[in-house]
Symmetry: C2
Subunit: 375 residues, 2 copies
């Protein structure tokens, strides 16, 4: 199968599983490991494409479920595709809708054909299966489409997890069959809940299907982080070495460092943008709630040494004032900082891998990071 | 009296009262006639200083009443003044709080000393008089402070209007006496409601006080526009020729063209930013409600020929989608367009005056402008 993307490993850390790669897509190269800002509804909340580029965004994520509901994929196709619609000329990855159908819609009915659900917007009854998800993602024209998978609640029993996983595999095959767009790659998604045997089985089954990349789905859904890390340790040997590995929906600073440590290449998460609008910021010392009264007279930046527009120009006191006054600009500045923080963290991570000192980097990171102010 | 600002008329239109000037302030030169974007709470809603500069903002307005309530002028003084606080290094004009005490607060009691009122934020009882307004504006450190005036409702009777005007004059003198900051200019405000005799009396009384500039307050408060225009026609001969004239709170495209026609040099208004967040845009043809269903499949820009970031990159269909989806980016793009529209209109106005063809410009403007889509 001729894949429209290529992945090349350019460096491997000697003491850890961290890897440095280059993912080439129809809309350009991505240096991995990478964090992908999330533009659920065809925009990263409060950001413009120009700002995204300025903070170093290499690829942005958008969402099949949301865009299908509003404005609809046909409108976006008519606009010339999602890149043109939102004026973003770099790579885009679209999630398949599997997780959103599971987490946002109501009255779900999952059968072998697909999922019948009610729209979270207007309650309309809708149907989405592997073929529908592929058709939507092809209309959107993302560089990377994700297979339509079955998600499970946390916790769930082994039997439920097995059934969901097996269906996910059958749906992955249907996605491959339905997928036709030659300028779009299709990634499979490993499932299996929190059962090591199922996760390994899933990783192997999907590896056999020869996808150009693999998501790891269904994690960071409420389980303690050590459980996620242990699971990653156990399944990573079964994830194809030569393919990009994408830990879906994970994006707190500590998880990025720990994910890369275990061999993850790609991350996405709404955490950075969501908490920003409430005035919570990432720093190397952990969470900083700039909205707090103690910053009212603090004329320093959100984070000393940060090169973002917010930190270079505005004080904690000012951003706090804006947030307290309900000003959009406050959320904007915190969003810029949080996204830049994660993208800069990934830059530092990539450099550490290139310099073959990822273990030291990780130790230094956690020596400074206050876990009592974690996410 | 040594004024920290100078105003120089550089061109006068032969057939109209339109004038082209340069206002020099401690934070730089302003080419007039000018529109001033409003940053009520120390930010122009949804905009950053960088974006404001990019669209050609020369001076921005902020608000004594709002900043006194939150975060308080002492915090801003501590931050190094309003320019530093909001990272805006160009000129700032602060309104005095007179109009906001009148329009926003409740349980007002106006006596000779000043106004007792309840904060619109938390109901706390507060007092502001000319001396308090001056002290706050000096703490903020704006380039231009406005005198604390008495506003009247529309309509109001002649006796009420006279009393308010006379008190405004006494307060203007108290403002001059209380004002000490040598790097800040103090403008007087002409009042007199909709009575020509009072307005002329007010213009003359204030001219005698030798302010370096004059606001015209209490207009655009609900009266039909022809009434405002007629009043401007009648009072303008009494407004000092050599001083800048600022028509307060007026900022729809037609009013800018008509105001300049009558000799106005400065304008401010929240209309541009307020309607933008609801998806209503300025164009040379009048109002365009980009949120409307008829633009769902319209892939053209908000306004053909506009050089703003929104029009250069995004379609009506996209901006409509963002607004419908409740995305901040939608309001941001419409705000950028609306402010740029007004600033570009002022650029065209200035050029027309320099070329001594303002009357033609005005005719062409209204030939294109659809008054049924006015504001």
């Amino acid at each position: 199968m001729n894949h429209p993307i290529t992945f090349k490993l350019v460096a491997k850390d000697a003491k850890t599983h961290a890897r440095r790669g280059v993912l080439t897509t129809p809309h350009g190269e991505i240096q991995t490991p990478i964090f992908m800002p999330v533009g659920t509804q065809a925009t990263v909340k409060a950001m413009t494409p120009r700002e995204l580029k300025e903070i170093g965004t290499q690829i942005m994520l958008s969402n099949t479920y949301h865009l299908h509901l509003r404005p609809g994929e046909e409108l976006i196709r008519e606009a010339g595709g999602l890149h043109r619609f939102m004026a973003w000329d770099k790579p885009i990855l679209t999630d398949s809708g599997g997780f959103q159908v599971f987490s946002l819609s109501s009255l779900r009915k999952i059968r072998e054909e697909g999922v019948t659900f009610r729209s979270h917007l207007d309650g309309a009854t809708m149907f989405m299966g592997p073929e529908e998800s592929m058709a939507i993602q092809e209309a959107l024209g993302s560089d990377i489409a994700m297979a339509f998978d079955v998600c499970t609640a946390y916790p769930c029993d082994h039997q439920t997890a097995r059934e969901a996983m097996e269906r996910t595999h059958r749906w992955a095959q249907r996605c491959q069959k339905a997928h036709t767009r030659e300028d779009q790659a299709l990634f499979g998604i490993v499932q299996g809940a929190f059962f090591t045997d199922l996760r390994i089985e899933s990783a192997k089954a999907l590896a056999d299907m020869d996808f150009p990349g693999y998501g790891i789905g269904g994690l960071s859904v409420g389980e303690p982080k050590p459980i996620m890390y242990d699971l990653l340790d156990e399944i990573m040997p079964y994830m194809p070495e030569a393919k990009p590995r994408y830990l879906m929906g994970v994006g707190s600073p500590d998880c990025l460092v720990e994910g890369v440590y275990r061999g993850i290449d790609m991350f996405d998460c709404v955490l950075a943008t969501r908490i920003a609008r409430n005035g919570t910021c990432f720093t190397d010392n952990g969470r900083l709630v700039v909205r707090n009264a103690k910053y009212a007279h603090d004329f320093g930046p959100i984070e000393e040494g940060c090169d973002c527009y917010a930190c270079q120009n505005f004080s904690r006191a000012y951003i706090r004032h804006l947030l307290k006054a309900g000003e959009i600009t406050g959320g904007r500045l915190a969003t810029i900082h949080n996204l830049r923080y994660l993208l800069r963290l990934m830059e530092r991570i990539r450099r550490a891998i290139e310099e073959n000192r990822y273990e030291e980097f990780r130790k230094e990171f956690f020596a400074k990071y206050d876990m009592s102010r974690n996410f």
